[in-house]
């Protein structure tokens, strides 16, 4: 064993040699070389000689860090080597540990505890600092707990070199083990008075991080922070202090007046751009109430905007965007520069400028801005073009299209955007087209026109980016067929052979739309023939040619439908529409027969399609065709059969003509929840998964998908009753479902909530002559109403759910979960700080001390209260709670929060006065 080891050691290749051979190896040979090297490492690392081991470990760490090689198997070797006598070996061990250990899964971490403790107490500063740096990378709750005493000692160390590092590590330890706050916090706070810039910088940085999560807890330290703000001249420290105040100001508005003055002084005084920018950002973010400060900040921003340095320009635009939220004048004043920045060569700057331009959009200028932007988009590269389109879509749809007055314009604009060659926002455009169709009744005529233009344009078929839009347009054409002037032309477009290249989802929409068109044509034909015998028009002959295939079809039909009649026919809305539409289109027996043949010829092959959706829908249509055709072709007419067929047609047509519309979010709440169905649990998980997904449209409403199935009709009456007795509300599921609907199949998802019968649509559905914006307003109002309504049943609802989930937690579980981790920390901080201020800075603020005591007293009182509650809970639960101090705390934290908020203001009166 020793012999092998000795030979290994003698011929061991160092890291340098390995790197050299890696650099020399021909391209492609690298993996083999690494594998060979790894084999050696696996042997060498077992050596008992620390030098051999360390070289092996160093090589391995190198491969791990820069070549992505797994080294979790070697974790124990790092631990072994960490106790080496040589600092250089130790350093390699620590480096490999820091780079490769996973704090939550590497189980050998705990074996390091003893060695780290030894090193933390070492007399050599570099041993200590190495241990600290390792600890910061790998610390987990256990390690933090075990090493807190050593850390506490280091926080008061006379060696500033290690003290500042200890302060930096404390942040990690607090996060992992909040109880460490009780031990270390006092010392940390004491360091705020240090004169050493390194230490001050570290401790201010620490508070900057802490205050990001929970600013309120650190309000009592405001006097200390203020002192630093006024006295300190170190830019690094000042930047962090400014960040702290930016976060404190919103929770204590009175801070603003006091702090804004020194901030302005720094802004005027400093030559450092970083500090100046931080001052500006602080002012526009949190101190924007002070006019003089705002003016100063904006002046500085303008300076940055005119600077040649693209970094400053970019940051200035970002700051403008922050300011724009409340102070539009800031952007308008700098409008010219912003617009100019849209032509910058830097994509970041362009995007920021675009965002600012969009923030300026209002109902008065939306048309101009959008027209200008789309012109700009045409000239831009595809990426920026899509960004522009995305921003336009987002801005215009904001809050139910609140900026849009002229929907006709907007719809044709949407069509224009969809035709942009690189437009990748087809999905959003499609969503909005359908959404507007449902929400804005008065715009449907124009909508159908826009949809028709897109559907019949053969040039668009080849562009896969636009397929989503075409699907939406096809749906619109089918759904609002009564607004269409020429259904034959539509049918032709919907069933043209080239649609075979579409994805199945779009194709099935096309077929379904064709179904609707067909049903509508048949219906109007029957309506007409009910009064009069179908006339044979002169066009009928050419129409019947439709059953010919492909190109000949198109040619002949183009002749057959006189385009002039299209133009002169104005649409006749609603009740009149159907008859007007049929009259305009020469519904004759022959033309209908031609249509039927055309449909049959084109759909027959699809009845054998691989795609079930396509197949099923094609079969549906064919079924109708087969049903109707004999009735039209048979000479000896069978009265009863005719009637039956016509009744069916009428039924189908009625079904399709039933209007679809947006539905209140609350609709889902009326759904009867079956017993034993636990919605809450799973959907909570879903929320975590979907949490980071942004939904482009503000969603207070969801869209109900069309109910195409006949069954729905039957069930709607039952469902009405159900909704009456429905008493189960699941708020999470509602919003999630809404989000889900927004994302997927607006018009394509089969509805399961049959409860939302037509009677239950919000009033927005009711026919009336209001203009679109009023309607939109109504939506907003409705949304508000629905929110109000939501609260009451929730309260009623909350109790049984909590009982089911036991644990005895009364507050909302969702919020609890979110807060839990930060509460542990901030709860501990509040406890320590409010007791602590009294002892550490008693010389400074007597009042704060008394307030602290008062609060402590109050805290005790609180404890009594909570324990009182506990007694109500059954005995088991109480035991559990008492044993788990962790669990107890968050609750205390949340409950205590408002009290502390109220209390904390008197803790800093000397600052505020």
């Amino acid at each position: 064993m020793a012999g092998i080891s000795l030979i290994d050691s003698l011929f061991q290749s160092s890291l340098d040699v390995v790197i050299k051979s890696l650099r020399l190896c021909p391209p492609g040979a690298e993996p083999t070389l690494i594998a060979k090297s790894l084999e050696e490492i696996r042997r060498e690392i077992k050596s008992t000689d620390p030098q051999t081991k360390s070289v092996a470990l160093e090589k391995l760490a190198y491969f791990h860090s820069l070549h992505g090689i797994d080294m979790s198997w070697a974790a124990f070797h790092s631990v072994e080597l960490s106790s080496a006598a040589s600092h250089s070996h130790k350093r390699i061990a620590c480096l490999s540990a820091a780079l490769s250990f996973n704090p939550s899964t590497t189980d050998v971490i705990l074996l390091l505890t003893h060695q780290l403790r030894k090193d933390l107490s070492s007399s050599n500063v570099h041993d200590v600092s190495l241990a600290l740096s390792t600890l910061s990378s790998i610390c987990n709750p256990d390690l933090s707990r075990d090493l807190t005493p050593e850390l506490f000692t280091l926080l008061g160390s006379s060696r500033f070199f290690v003290r500042k590092k200890a302060i930096a590590v404390v942040l990690r330890v607090f996060e992992q083990y909040p109880d460490a706050v009780r031990v270390c916090f006092k010392r940390v706070v004491e360091n705020l008075e240090s004169t050493d810039m390194g230490i001050l910088s570290a401790v201010v940085g620490l508070f900057c991080e802490l205050s990001a999560k929970d600013p309120r807890s650190y309000l009592p330290l405001a006097p200390e922070f203020y002192k630093i703000l006024v006295d300190c001249r170190n830019n690094w420290v000042l930047i962090k202090i400014l960040k702290i105040f930016t976060r404190l100001a919103p929770v204590e508005p009175r801070l603003g007046k006091k702090v804004v003055e020194p901030i302005c002084e720094h802004l005027l005084r400093t030559g450092a751009k970083s500090l100046a920018y931080e001052c500006v950002r602080a002012i526009v973010t949190s101190f924007d109430d002070c006019d003089s400060a705002m003016k100063l900040a904006v002046e500085k921003l303008r300076e940055f905007l005119f600077d040649d340095d693209p970094n400053l320009k970019f940051l200035a635009l970002q700051a403008l965007a922050i300011a724009a939220e409340k102070h539009m004048w800031v952007v308008i004043e700098n409008q010219e520069m912003v617009v100019r920045a849209m032509n910058d060569e830097d994509i970041n700057i362009k995007l920021e400028a675009l965002r600012l331009v969009m923030s300026m959009v209002s109902e008065d200028n939306v048309m101009q801005i959008c027209t200008v932007l789309i012109g700009h988009a045409r000239k831009s590269d595809p990426y920026f073009c899509n960004e522009i389109v995305g921003f336009i879509l987002q801005t215009c749809s904001r809050n139910f299209y609140e900026v849009i007055f002229d929907f006709d314009w907007y719809l044709s604009f949407l069509g224009e955007m969809a035709r942009l060659p690189h437009c990748e926002k087809g999905g959003d455009i499609a969503t909005q087209l359908v959404d507007i169709g449902m929400r804005v009744k008065d715009a449907r005529n124009e909508l159908v026109r826009v949809a028709r233009d897109l559907v019949i344009d053969p040039a668009l078929l080849g562009n896969p980016l636009i397929h989503g839009v075409l699907g939406a347009c096809a749906w619109i054409s089918g759904e609002y067929i009564k607004f269409s002037k020429n259904p034959f032309e539509l049918m032709e477009a919907l069933l043209q052979p080239r649609t075979n290249f579409f994805p199945p989802a779009v194709r099935s929409v096309y077929i379904q739309s064709a179904f609707k068109v067909l049903a509508s044509c048949l219906h109007s034909y029957i309506e007409l023939s009910g009064n009069a015998v179908p006339q044979h028009s002169e066009l009928s002959e050419s129409v019947s040619n439709l059953n010919l295939q492909d190109d000949s079809v198109r040619a002949s039909s183009e002749i057959s439908y006189d385009s002039e009649t299209d133009n002169e026919k104005t649409f006749i809305p609603d009740v009149q529409a159907a008859s007007g539409f049929s009259r305009g289109c020469n519904m004759t027996k022959d033309s209908i027969l031609g249509l039927l043949n055309f449909v049959e010829v084109n759909l027959r092959p699809l009845a054998a399609s691989d795609e079930v959706e396509v197949q099923e829908r094609a079969s549906n249509v064919l079924g109708v065709v087969e049903l109707v055709k004999p009735r039209l072709t048979d000479d000896q007419s069978n009265e009863t059969q005719d009637r039956k067929t016509f009744e069916i047609i009428e039924l189908i047509s009625d079904l399709f003509s039933e209007e679809l519309g947006p539905v209140s979010l609350n609709a889902q709440e009326r759904v009867w929840l079956p017993d034993g169905l636990v919605l809450k649990k799973d959907l909570n998980d879903l929320e975590e998964i979907c949490g980071d997904i942004n939904f482009p449209l503000p969603t207070s409403f969801s869209l109900v998908p069309p109910r195409i199935l006949e069954k729905d009709i039957a069930s709607s009456s039952i469902s009405e009753n159900q909704s009456m007795e429905a008493s189960e509300y699941v708020s999470e599921s509602t919003s999630l479902l809404a989000k889900h609907r927004k994302r997927y199949g607006l018009y394509y998802l089969h509805s399961d909530d049959k409860e939302t019968g037509p009677e239950e649509y919000p009033p927005a559905e009711e026919p009336r002559d209001k203009n679109a914006t009023e309607e939109a307003d109504d939506f907003v109002k409705l949304a508000e109403q629905s929110l109000v309504v939501k609260k009451l049943p929730n309260k009623v609802k909350a109790r049984p759910v909590v009982v089911k989930l036991d644990e005895g937690e009364k507050s909302d579980i969702g919020t609890e979960k979110l807060k839990a981790s930060s509460d542990l920390l901030s709860g501990a901080v509040q406890e320590v700080l409010l007791g602590n201020v009294a002892s550490t800075s008693s010389s400074k603020s007597k009042s704060s001390a008394s307030a602290g005591k008062e609060h402590r007293h109050h805290g005790k009182h609180k404890k009594h209260q909570t324990s009182g509650k506990d007694t109500q809970v059954d005995g088991k639960n109480r035991k559990k709670r008492e044993s788990q101090r962790h669990k107890h705390k968050p609750q205390q934290g949340t409950e205590g929060e408002p009290t502390i908020g109220a209390q904390s203001s008197p803790t800093i009166p000397d600052l505020l006065l």
Binding site: A2, S5, L6, L10, I19, T48, D49, P50, Q51, T52, E58, A61, Y62, S65, G68, I69, D70, A85, S86, H87, S88, R91, I92, L95, F101, N102, S104, H126, L132, S136, S137, F161, K165, A168, V169, G198, S201, G205, L206, E209, A212, N235, W236, I239, K240, K243, K273, S274, Y277, P310, N311, K313, F314, L315, E345, D346, I347, N348, I349, D692
Partner: protein
């Protein structure tokens, strides 16, 4: 907080990778690739900031700077000032320059451990702890001395100890 420091060359090869929150190796490699994809598409003389939300989640910012053949990349969150991080990058480069006298890519390639040592003296656990390159150089030199001292006893001949 600083979330990560990456040095890579203009071919996308990483030369130093340090994340201050644990990232699995595969994830690290993926992040490096996506960063490189962004960086190599950017022209010279444009701003040094890149929106990194898509790679690192909301609130993440990325600053990079090119020095000869190397990209220096810092990833950080809202608790840092963008311009200050740019300065910090300068500190790192200055320090490397002093430690290796006229630093070039090869120095970074062949001094895996030392570059990490230098970085550890500037940033610890995502917190900036030293901004003066002189101080850092001093500390790094001390550490080198310490290492050589302990090494010289045993390790001049590998395997000698036994």
């Amino acid at each position: 907080m600083i979330r990560g420091v990456i040095i890579m060359n203009d071919k996308g090869k990483p030369r130093l990778v340090k994340f201050y929150e644990f990232q699995p190796v595969e994830k690290q490699q993926e992040l490096i690739r996506s960063i490189y994809k962004i960086l190599c598409s950017r022209a010279d003389n444009v701003s040094n900031f890149v929106k990194a939300d898509s790679i690192f989640g909301p609130d993440a910012r990325l600053v990079y700077k090119t020095f000869a053949t190397l990209y220096f990349v810092f990833i950080f969150d809202a608790s840092e000032n963008e311009l200050a991080v740019l300065d910090l990058m300068q500190v790192l480069v200055e320090t490397l320059d002093k430690c290796f006298s006229n630093v070039c890519e090869l120095d970074v390639v062949f001094n895996f451990k030392k570059v990490h040592t230098i970085l550890d003296e500037i940033i610890l656990g995502g917190q900036v702890i030293e901004t003066s390159s002189t101080e850092v150089v001093k500390a790094v030199e001390e550490i080198s001395k310490l290492e050589n001292k302990s090494n010289s006893i045993i390790s001049s001949i590998p395997g000698w100890q036994r």
